[in-house]
């Protein structure tokens, strides 16, 4: 019970001081909006095109929304030492880090629905398998957040976290089958695609939106879950090793 009071208040504080601040809310809206407009306009408004593009746009929105937040909520707080106060709290380290990442996960889920809402006005979304789409969005938000966490704890400056995450983010747009099918990638890049978690997230989204996917949903989601556990554990290990000297 006591631990949950701590968990809830860490989440609430991050929400108030970071996620719900006008710059972040507008960033969270404008960024997906920009992606969405760019792709939808370029596609030439064919209805089928929008359905083909939607999964990729949703995935990008989540990826960029979540990963950029961890640089602030974790790296910045480490730098100004307020993170030490959290480390001194009598709650388990795992719960502490879950509290620090929950805000970003929710933020990512929120970001995901910006393109969806736009698409409502442009296309018929009744054919989307929501019972698959929603869990996929959640899992992608989780895995992107933990990827962001992994990056945020591997560096010590906020700008490094931003630069380093771009190093991951931009290649992922092309490698994870968001807009171009993985089969069309050069053979030597394919193994790389399968090593990136977003590949499996995008696969589920494609399947949920227009029925075209490579792997069973259960397998995709299980792999995403495995990536989450792996990235979270690696981040915790890194914090213990690098921050608690």
């Amino acid at each position: 019970m006591k631990s949950w009071i701590a968990y809830w208040n860490i989440l609430l504080k991050d929400m108030r001081t970071y996620y719900l601040k006008p710059p972040n809310v507008s960033w969270g809206l404008i960024f997906p909006l920009a992606w969405t407009s760019m792709f939808f306009i370029r596609s030439g408004t064919g209805l089928e095109d929008i359905m083909i593009l939607l999964p990729g746009v949703v995935a990008i929105s989540i990826l960029f929304g979540t990963t950029s937040m961890l640089a602030v909520t974790v790296t910045f707080e480490k730098k100004n030492r307020s993170f030490e106060r959290l480390l001194l709290a009598p709650i388990s380290f795992e719960l502490l880090m879950l509290a620090k990442t929950s805000g970003a996960i929710l933020f990512g889920v929120g970001n995901a629905f910006v393109p969806v809402i736009i698409a409502v006005f442009l296309a018929d979304l009744t054919q989307i398998a929501w019972h698959v789409f929603v869990p996929a969005v959640f899992m992608i938000a989780m895995v992107s957040t933990f990827l962001g966490l992994f990056i945020a704890v591997a560096v010590s400056e906020v700008f490094e976290a931003q630069t380093f995450s771009n190093f991951f983010r931009f290649p992922m747009i092309f490698l994870c089958g968001l807009f171009f099918p993985i089969e069309k990638l050069p053979v030597f890049l394919k193994p790389l695609s399968y090593a990136l978690p977003l590949t499996y997230g995008a696969d589920v989204l494609h399947g949920a939106v227009h029925g075209n996917h490579m792997m069973p949903f259960a397998l995709d989601l299980a792999l995403l879950a495995a990536f989450c556990v792996l990235l979270f554990a690696a981040s915790l290990w890194n914090i213990k090793r690098r921050w608690i000297l």
């Binding site: 631990s3 009071i5 307020s82 000297l245």
Partner: protein, 324 residues
């Protein structure tokens, strides 16, 4: 349980620096324990290890009867920590900072609000309760950081240089608050490089120099051997280089020390006769400007034991903004 903190053979190396070099000490329940040493002595490192913010290379730690050697977080519910630099949230108000810290210890909403108000009142911060922490003065920041450290009424409190770098009035107020806190039953581990502060506040003091404890005793015991001594400080505008040797030769019953600041410190079992001493100095080319009797204090003990001139410590103080 009568021992709040029990440390055996603690060591910590940073690359080539032995920051903490095999220290052992015990802090009894209810004690105000002073950890006194110059900058870089290893005080903060010791606190970090004891509170789980740093790992030791070897040694054992028990806090509040709990063995924390392998698991430094085991006793975190028992301790409050006030770091040397504030680690509160600059963008939150004073009140919100305290409420947030209380929530970290699992306090319910009504309880935390009541406690936050109570502490803001104790620390005279009520008028600033709704202002952002970033806009606080240094003294106010330190006070709120201490309030945050004791928000959950910890039985054991770590205070890292609480009066360094803040104004005189705030420093005095803080010392009173620390005393009160200790009187009401909190065991306090306080680090400082102000000798007078340690003497005034603490029951027991450990002198730490270069990661080693060179002496650990009650203030009474530390002062005892020097209490009956007579100390005099002579200021000279000019002083020949070999004056120390000459003085020692001429006045064999007195002990002389030349401080970095150009004072001659005279220590004696009996009252010092100033006349002959000043005449001797003038005859030997020194220009005496002042001779003053000093009250024997912990400073003298510290100088005797550590060999570190008290002004070396005082210089640190001036450099870092003073706190008397």
């Amino acid at each position: 349980m009568t021992e709040s903190i029990c440390v055996e053979n603690l060591t910590k190396n940073f690359e080539k620096v032995a920051a903490v070099d095999g220290i052992s000490f015990r802090v009894r329940q209810g004690e105000l324990f002073g950890f006194l040493g110059p900058n870089g002595a290893g005080k903060t490192t010791t606190i970090n290890i004891l509170t789980g913010l740093a790992r030791s290379d070897s040694g054992t730690i028990r806090i509040g009867g709990i063995d924390c050697t392998g698991n430094p977080r085991a006793a975190q519910h028992l301790v409050g920590v006030v770091p040397d630099e504030s680690n509160l949230y600059p963008e939150l108000t004073g009140f919100d900072n305290l409420c947030f810290c209380a929530a970290l210890y699992g306090m319910g909403r009504t309880k935390r609000k009541a406690r936050a108000h109570e502490l803001l009142d104790t620390f005279d911060l009520t008028p600033a309760a709704d202002r952002k922490f970033a806009g606080y003065s240094k003294g106010m920041k330190r006070k709120l950081t201490i309030a945050a450290g004791i928000i959950h009424r910890p039985p054991i409190l770590f205070l890292d240089e609480p009066t360094t770098g803040i104004d005189v009035a705030s420093a005095r107020q803080l010392r009173h608050l620390v005393s009160d806190l200790n009187r009401s039953g909190t065991t306090i581990f306080l680090t400082t490089h102000y000798i007078e502060e340690a003497e005034r506040l603490c029951n027991r003091i450990a002198f730490i120099v270069s990661g080693r404890i060179v002496r650990n005793d009650t203030v009474e015991h530390l002062i005892q051997p020097i209490k009956a001594k007579h100390i005099m400080r002579i200021a000279c505008a000019t002083m020949p280089n070999d004056i120390h040797a000459k003085l020692t030769h001429a006045f064999s019953e007195l002990i002389f020390t030349i401080t970095n600041e150009g004072f001659i410190r005279v220590e004696s079992e009996k009252p010092v006769h100033v006349g002959p001493l000043v005449r001797f100095l003038e005859d030997n080319g020194a220009e005496v400007t002042e001779a003053r009797r000093m009250r024997p204090s912990l400073e003298d003990v510290f100088v005797n034991i550590t060999g570190i001139a008290a002004d070396a410590m005082r210089k640190e103080k001036e450099k870092r903004g003073g706190g008397q």
